[in-house]
């Protein structure tokens, strides 16, 4: 640590050969570096609040639109559709938000400041982890607004405050994990718009071909097969159970396990691709 302690009053520079140098970064430094990067991300959000349009407007539009559009057809009336659709929209909105992470990371990486990050003796993962961490703010905003919209429209979740809070937390955790996938695409893609294109192509079928908006048994059997293995369906079910009755079922376990696997696979891939990038 001695090389990092600076004395601004010292007139001369310690020669390279006389310095105590560390060969690798400690876990503690990894956390500190990532937090410093997350702080940068939050300052950027404060500077450009218009970037929060999607996470504030999309939940409002989607809750109103889907509830009144499908409420009667799917569940008979709006009130009985809310417990089905609010968890669905919550999952869909927050996961869609995680795409933006990859797009913004791509735009960010093309800036000169990332060169400096690479030349600093910091944890390699920090610039990525920090950016992804700062995006948790976006997920929290999207989650809060979706839930609030539901409550305003008459959703009365049986899980109470704790159940709803846990459901929201689960969605945020899963979205953060999934954002590593898009971070990876963000790093390897040529341009920000291509990240967006690829990501939405993957996300549209995943979020719509799930139990997020309709009951599975209304679907043709070939589609049921896909919907039932779709991880999004499991997450939606877990959220419905948590918010609806406050019960922790194995679906929560599946969602968390899936998230862990995604991070374990895509975080190293993303970091490696990031370091390779010239």
């Amino acid at each position: 640590m001695s090389t990092r302690t600076l004395d601004p009053t010292r007139p001369t520079i310690v020669p390279g050969a006389q310095r105590t140098l560390r060969n690798r970064v400690t876990p503690g430094q990894t956390v500190r570096d990532s937090l410093a990067m997350a702080r940068r991300g939050l300052i950027k959000v404060r500077r450009t609040p218009e970037q929060l349009f999607d996470v504030t407007l999309q939940p409002i539009i989607f809750t109103v639109m889907f509830t009144f559009l499908f409420g009667g057809a799917v569940a008979g009336d709006v009130a009985s559709y809310l417990p089905i659709v609010i968890p669905g929209i919550l999952v869909q909105t927050v996961i869609t938000t995680s795409v933006v992470t990859g797009v913004q990371l791509r735009e960010d990486m093309d800036k000169g400041v990332f060169d400096r990050f690479k030349s600093l003796p910091i944890a390699r993962i920090a610039p990525l982890a920090g950016a992804l961490l700062a995006d948790v703010l976006r997920y929290l905003i999207a989650t809060t607004i979706t839930i609030t919209m539901g409550l305003v429209m008459g959703w009365r979740p049986g899980g109470g405050f704790v159940g709803v809070a846990l459901a929201g937390l689960l969605v945020v955790v899963c979205a953060w994990s999934i954002s590593w996938i898009f971070a990876f695409f963000g790093v390897i893609a040529r341009s920000a718009s291509s990240v967006q294109g690829i990501s939405f192509m993957v996300l549209f079928p995943l979020t719509f071909l799930s139990n997020a908006f309709v009951s599975v048994d209304t679907l043709p059997s070939w589609l049921q097969g896909f919907v039932n293995v779709n991880p999004v369906s499991h997450l939606v079910t877990a959220v419905r159970e948590l918010a609806g009755s406050g019960t922790l079922t194995h679906e929560v376990g599946i969602a968390l396990l899936g998230s862990a696997v995604i991070v374990a696979v895509f975080a190293p891939l993303a970091v490696r691709a990031y370091m390779r990038k010239a």
Binding site: M1, T3, R4, T5, L6, P8, R10, P11, T12, I13, V14, P15, G16, A17, R19, L21, R22, N23, R24, V25, Q29, R32, D33, A36, M37, R39, R40, I43, K44, R47, T48, K111, G112, V113, F114, D115, R116, F117, K118, S119, L120, P121, I122, A126, A278
Partner: protein, 362 residues
């Protein structure tokens, strides 16, 4: 393990982009405590070389050590020893100057009050205090560069890479940057800087490597380099384009060096070591009844250094040696391939360069 007297030692660095060898076997040796200038036109491979030395880019071949630490095997150690100021501002545009410096303080292990103190000190030192909280969007080029440099100095690195630190700056700001670089060296820092300006390398650097097409074409002190093209360069514009051949012969007889001719522009350029010899040239031209439309005497430009070095038949022999002063001055065959080199060199150099000097001898 660490060698104390060499800040940078690079052997045979190669970097290929697709089929293009951007850096093609560069050797560099920079003594600790010195300023080393890498001089070359746009696209010569300066930035790519720095990126490899700064662990930002993996060399395809060759090796490099920073204070004895291999950039490939010990990148994390190397990053603790260097500061990098890129050609394009490597600070965060959306953050203010203070926020930028505090971010980099935190990333350098300074937190809380220590980070605030250090960034305030640097803001003051680089004359940025007044603008500290303004968004960088409103910063001038000079302010950006200063902030960039300040950010590189947070950890007081013993080796600094400055990639074209003054390109695009007005003369006053450039002079300020020079003063700053000199101050840094006085504190014991080693500086490796790149530039397109011979004058800048000459002013700041103890030794200079001239690089072109990814190769070091000459290495030596500023004086040695300039000696290779003569202390100054004489430019003659003839009234009659038909006189070009005769005038060339006359000039060569007087100075012993054949001038570079451009018949279209009726212009001859020749290095002269001793300005008083210009009188002899003029007298000889008068005697030969060759009329002049104009003449000028200038310091050698990068163009001329390049012309002498890359256009010289002995250019391969010069590579990587210290005796650039032995390069035959102005001895330039008008071979087609050489001509291309010259055009490129001319069009991409210092805006202050007399752009009409290097008309090509076809």
């Amino acid at each position: 393990m660490s060698s104390t007297d060499r800040a940078v030692e690079a052997h045979g660095l190669v970097k290929t982009f697709g089929s293009h060898r951007a850096v093609d076997g560069v050797d560099l040796s920079v003594r600790t405590g010195s300023v080393y200038g890498v001089l070359g036109p746009n696209g010569a491979g300066k930035t790519t070389t720095i990126r490899m030395l700064a662990t930002l880019l993996r060399p395809d071949a060759g090796s490099a050590t920073i204070f004895g630490h291999d950039v490939g095997r010990e990148p994390f150690v190397v990053r603790q020893l260097i500061g990098v100021t890129g050609q394009y501002a490597s600070v965060d545009e959306t953050l203010s100057a203070t926020e930028n410096l505090q971010l980099f303080c935190r990333l350098n292990g300074l937190h809380g009050a220590a980070a605030r103190r250090r960034s305030n000190d640097l803001l003051e030192e680089f004359d940025l205090t007044e603008a500290a909280t303004r968004p960088l969007k409103n910063f001038s080029g000079g302010m950006r560069r200063r902030l960039d440099l300040a950010a590189s100095l947070i950890a007081q690195p013993p080796l600094l890479f400055l990639d074209e630190p003054t390109t695009g700056l007005d003369p006053r700001t450039r002079a300020q940057m020079w003063a700053t670089i000199r101050r840094l060296v006085a504190t014991g820092s080693t500086v490796l800087l790149t530039t397109q300006y011979l004058e800048e390398a000459d002013q700041l650097a103890d030794r200079i490597a001239v690089i072109d097409h990814g190769r070091v074409v000459a290495e030596g002190t500023g004086d040695e380099l300039k000696a290779s093209v003569g202390a100054q360069s004489l430019q003659l514009t003839l009234v009659d384009a038909d006189d070009v051949t005769a005038a060339s012969r006359t000039v060569e007889q007087v100075l012993g060096t054949s001038p570079v001719a451009s018949p279209e522009a009726r212009r001859l350029t020749v290095p002269v070591d001793d300005a008083t010899r210009v009188t002899d040239v003029l007298t000889a031209l008068r005697a030969a009844a060759i009329d002049l439309a104009g003449l000028s005497l200038d310091k050698p430009t990068l163009d001329e250094v390049f012309l002498a070095l890359t256009g010289s038949p002995t250019d391969t022999d010069v590579t990587g040696t210290d005796d650039a002063g032995d390069v035959p001055a102005g001895d330039v065959p008008a071979a087609g391939s050489r001509t291309e080199t010259r055009i490129e060199t001319r069009t991409k150099t210092h805006p202050e360069t007399r752009s009409d000097t290097m008309e090509v001898s076809a």
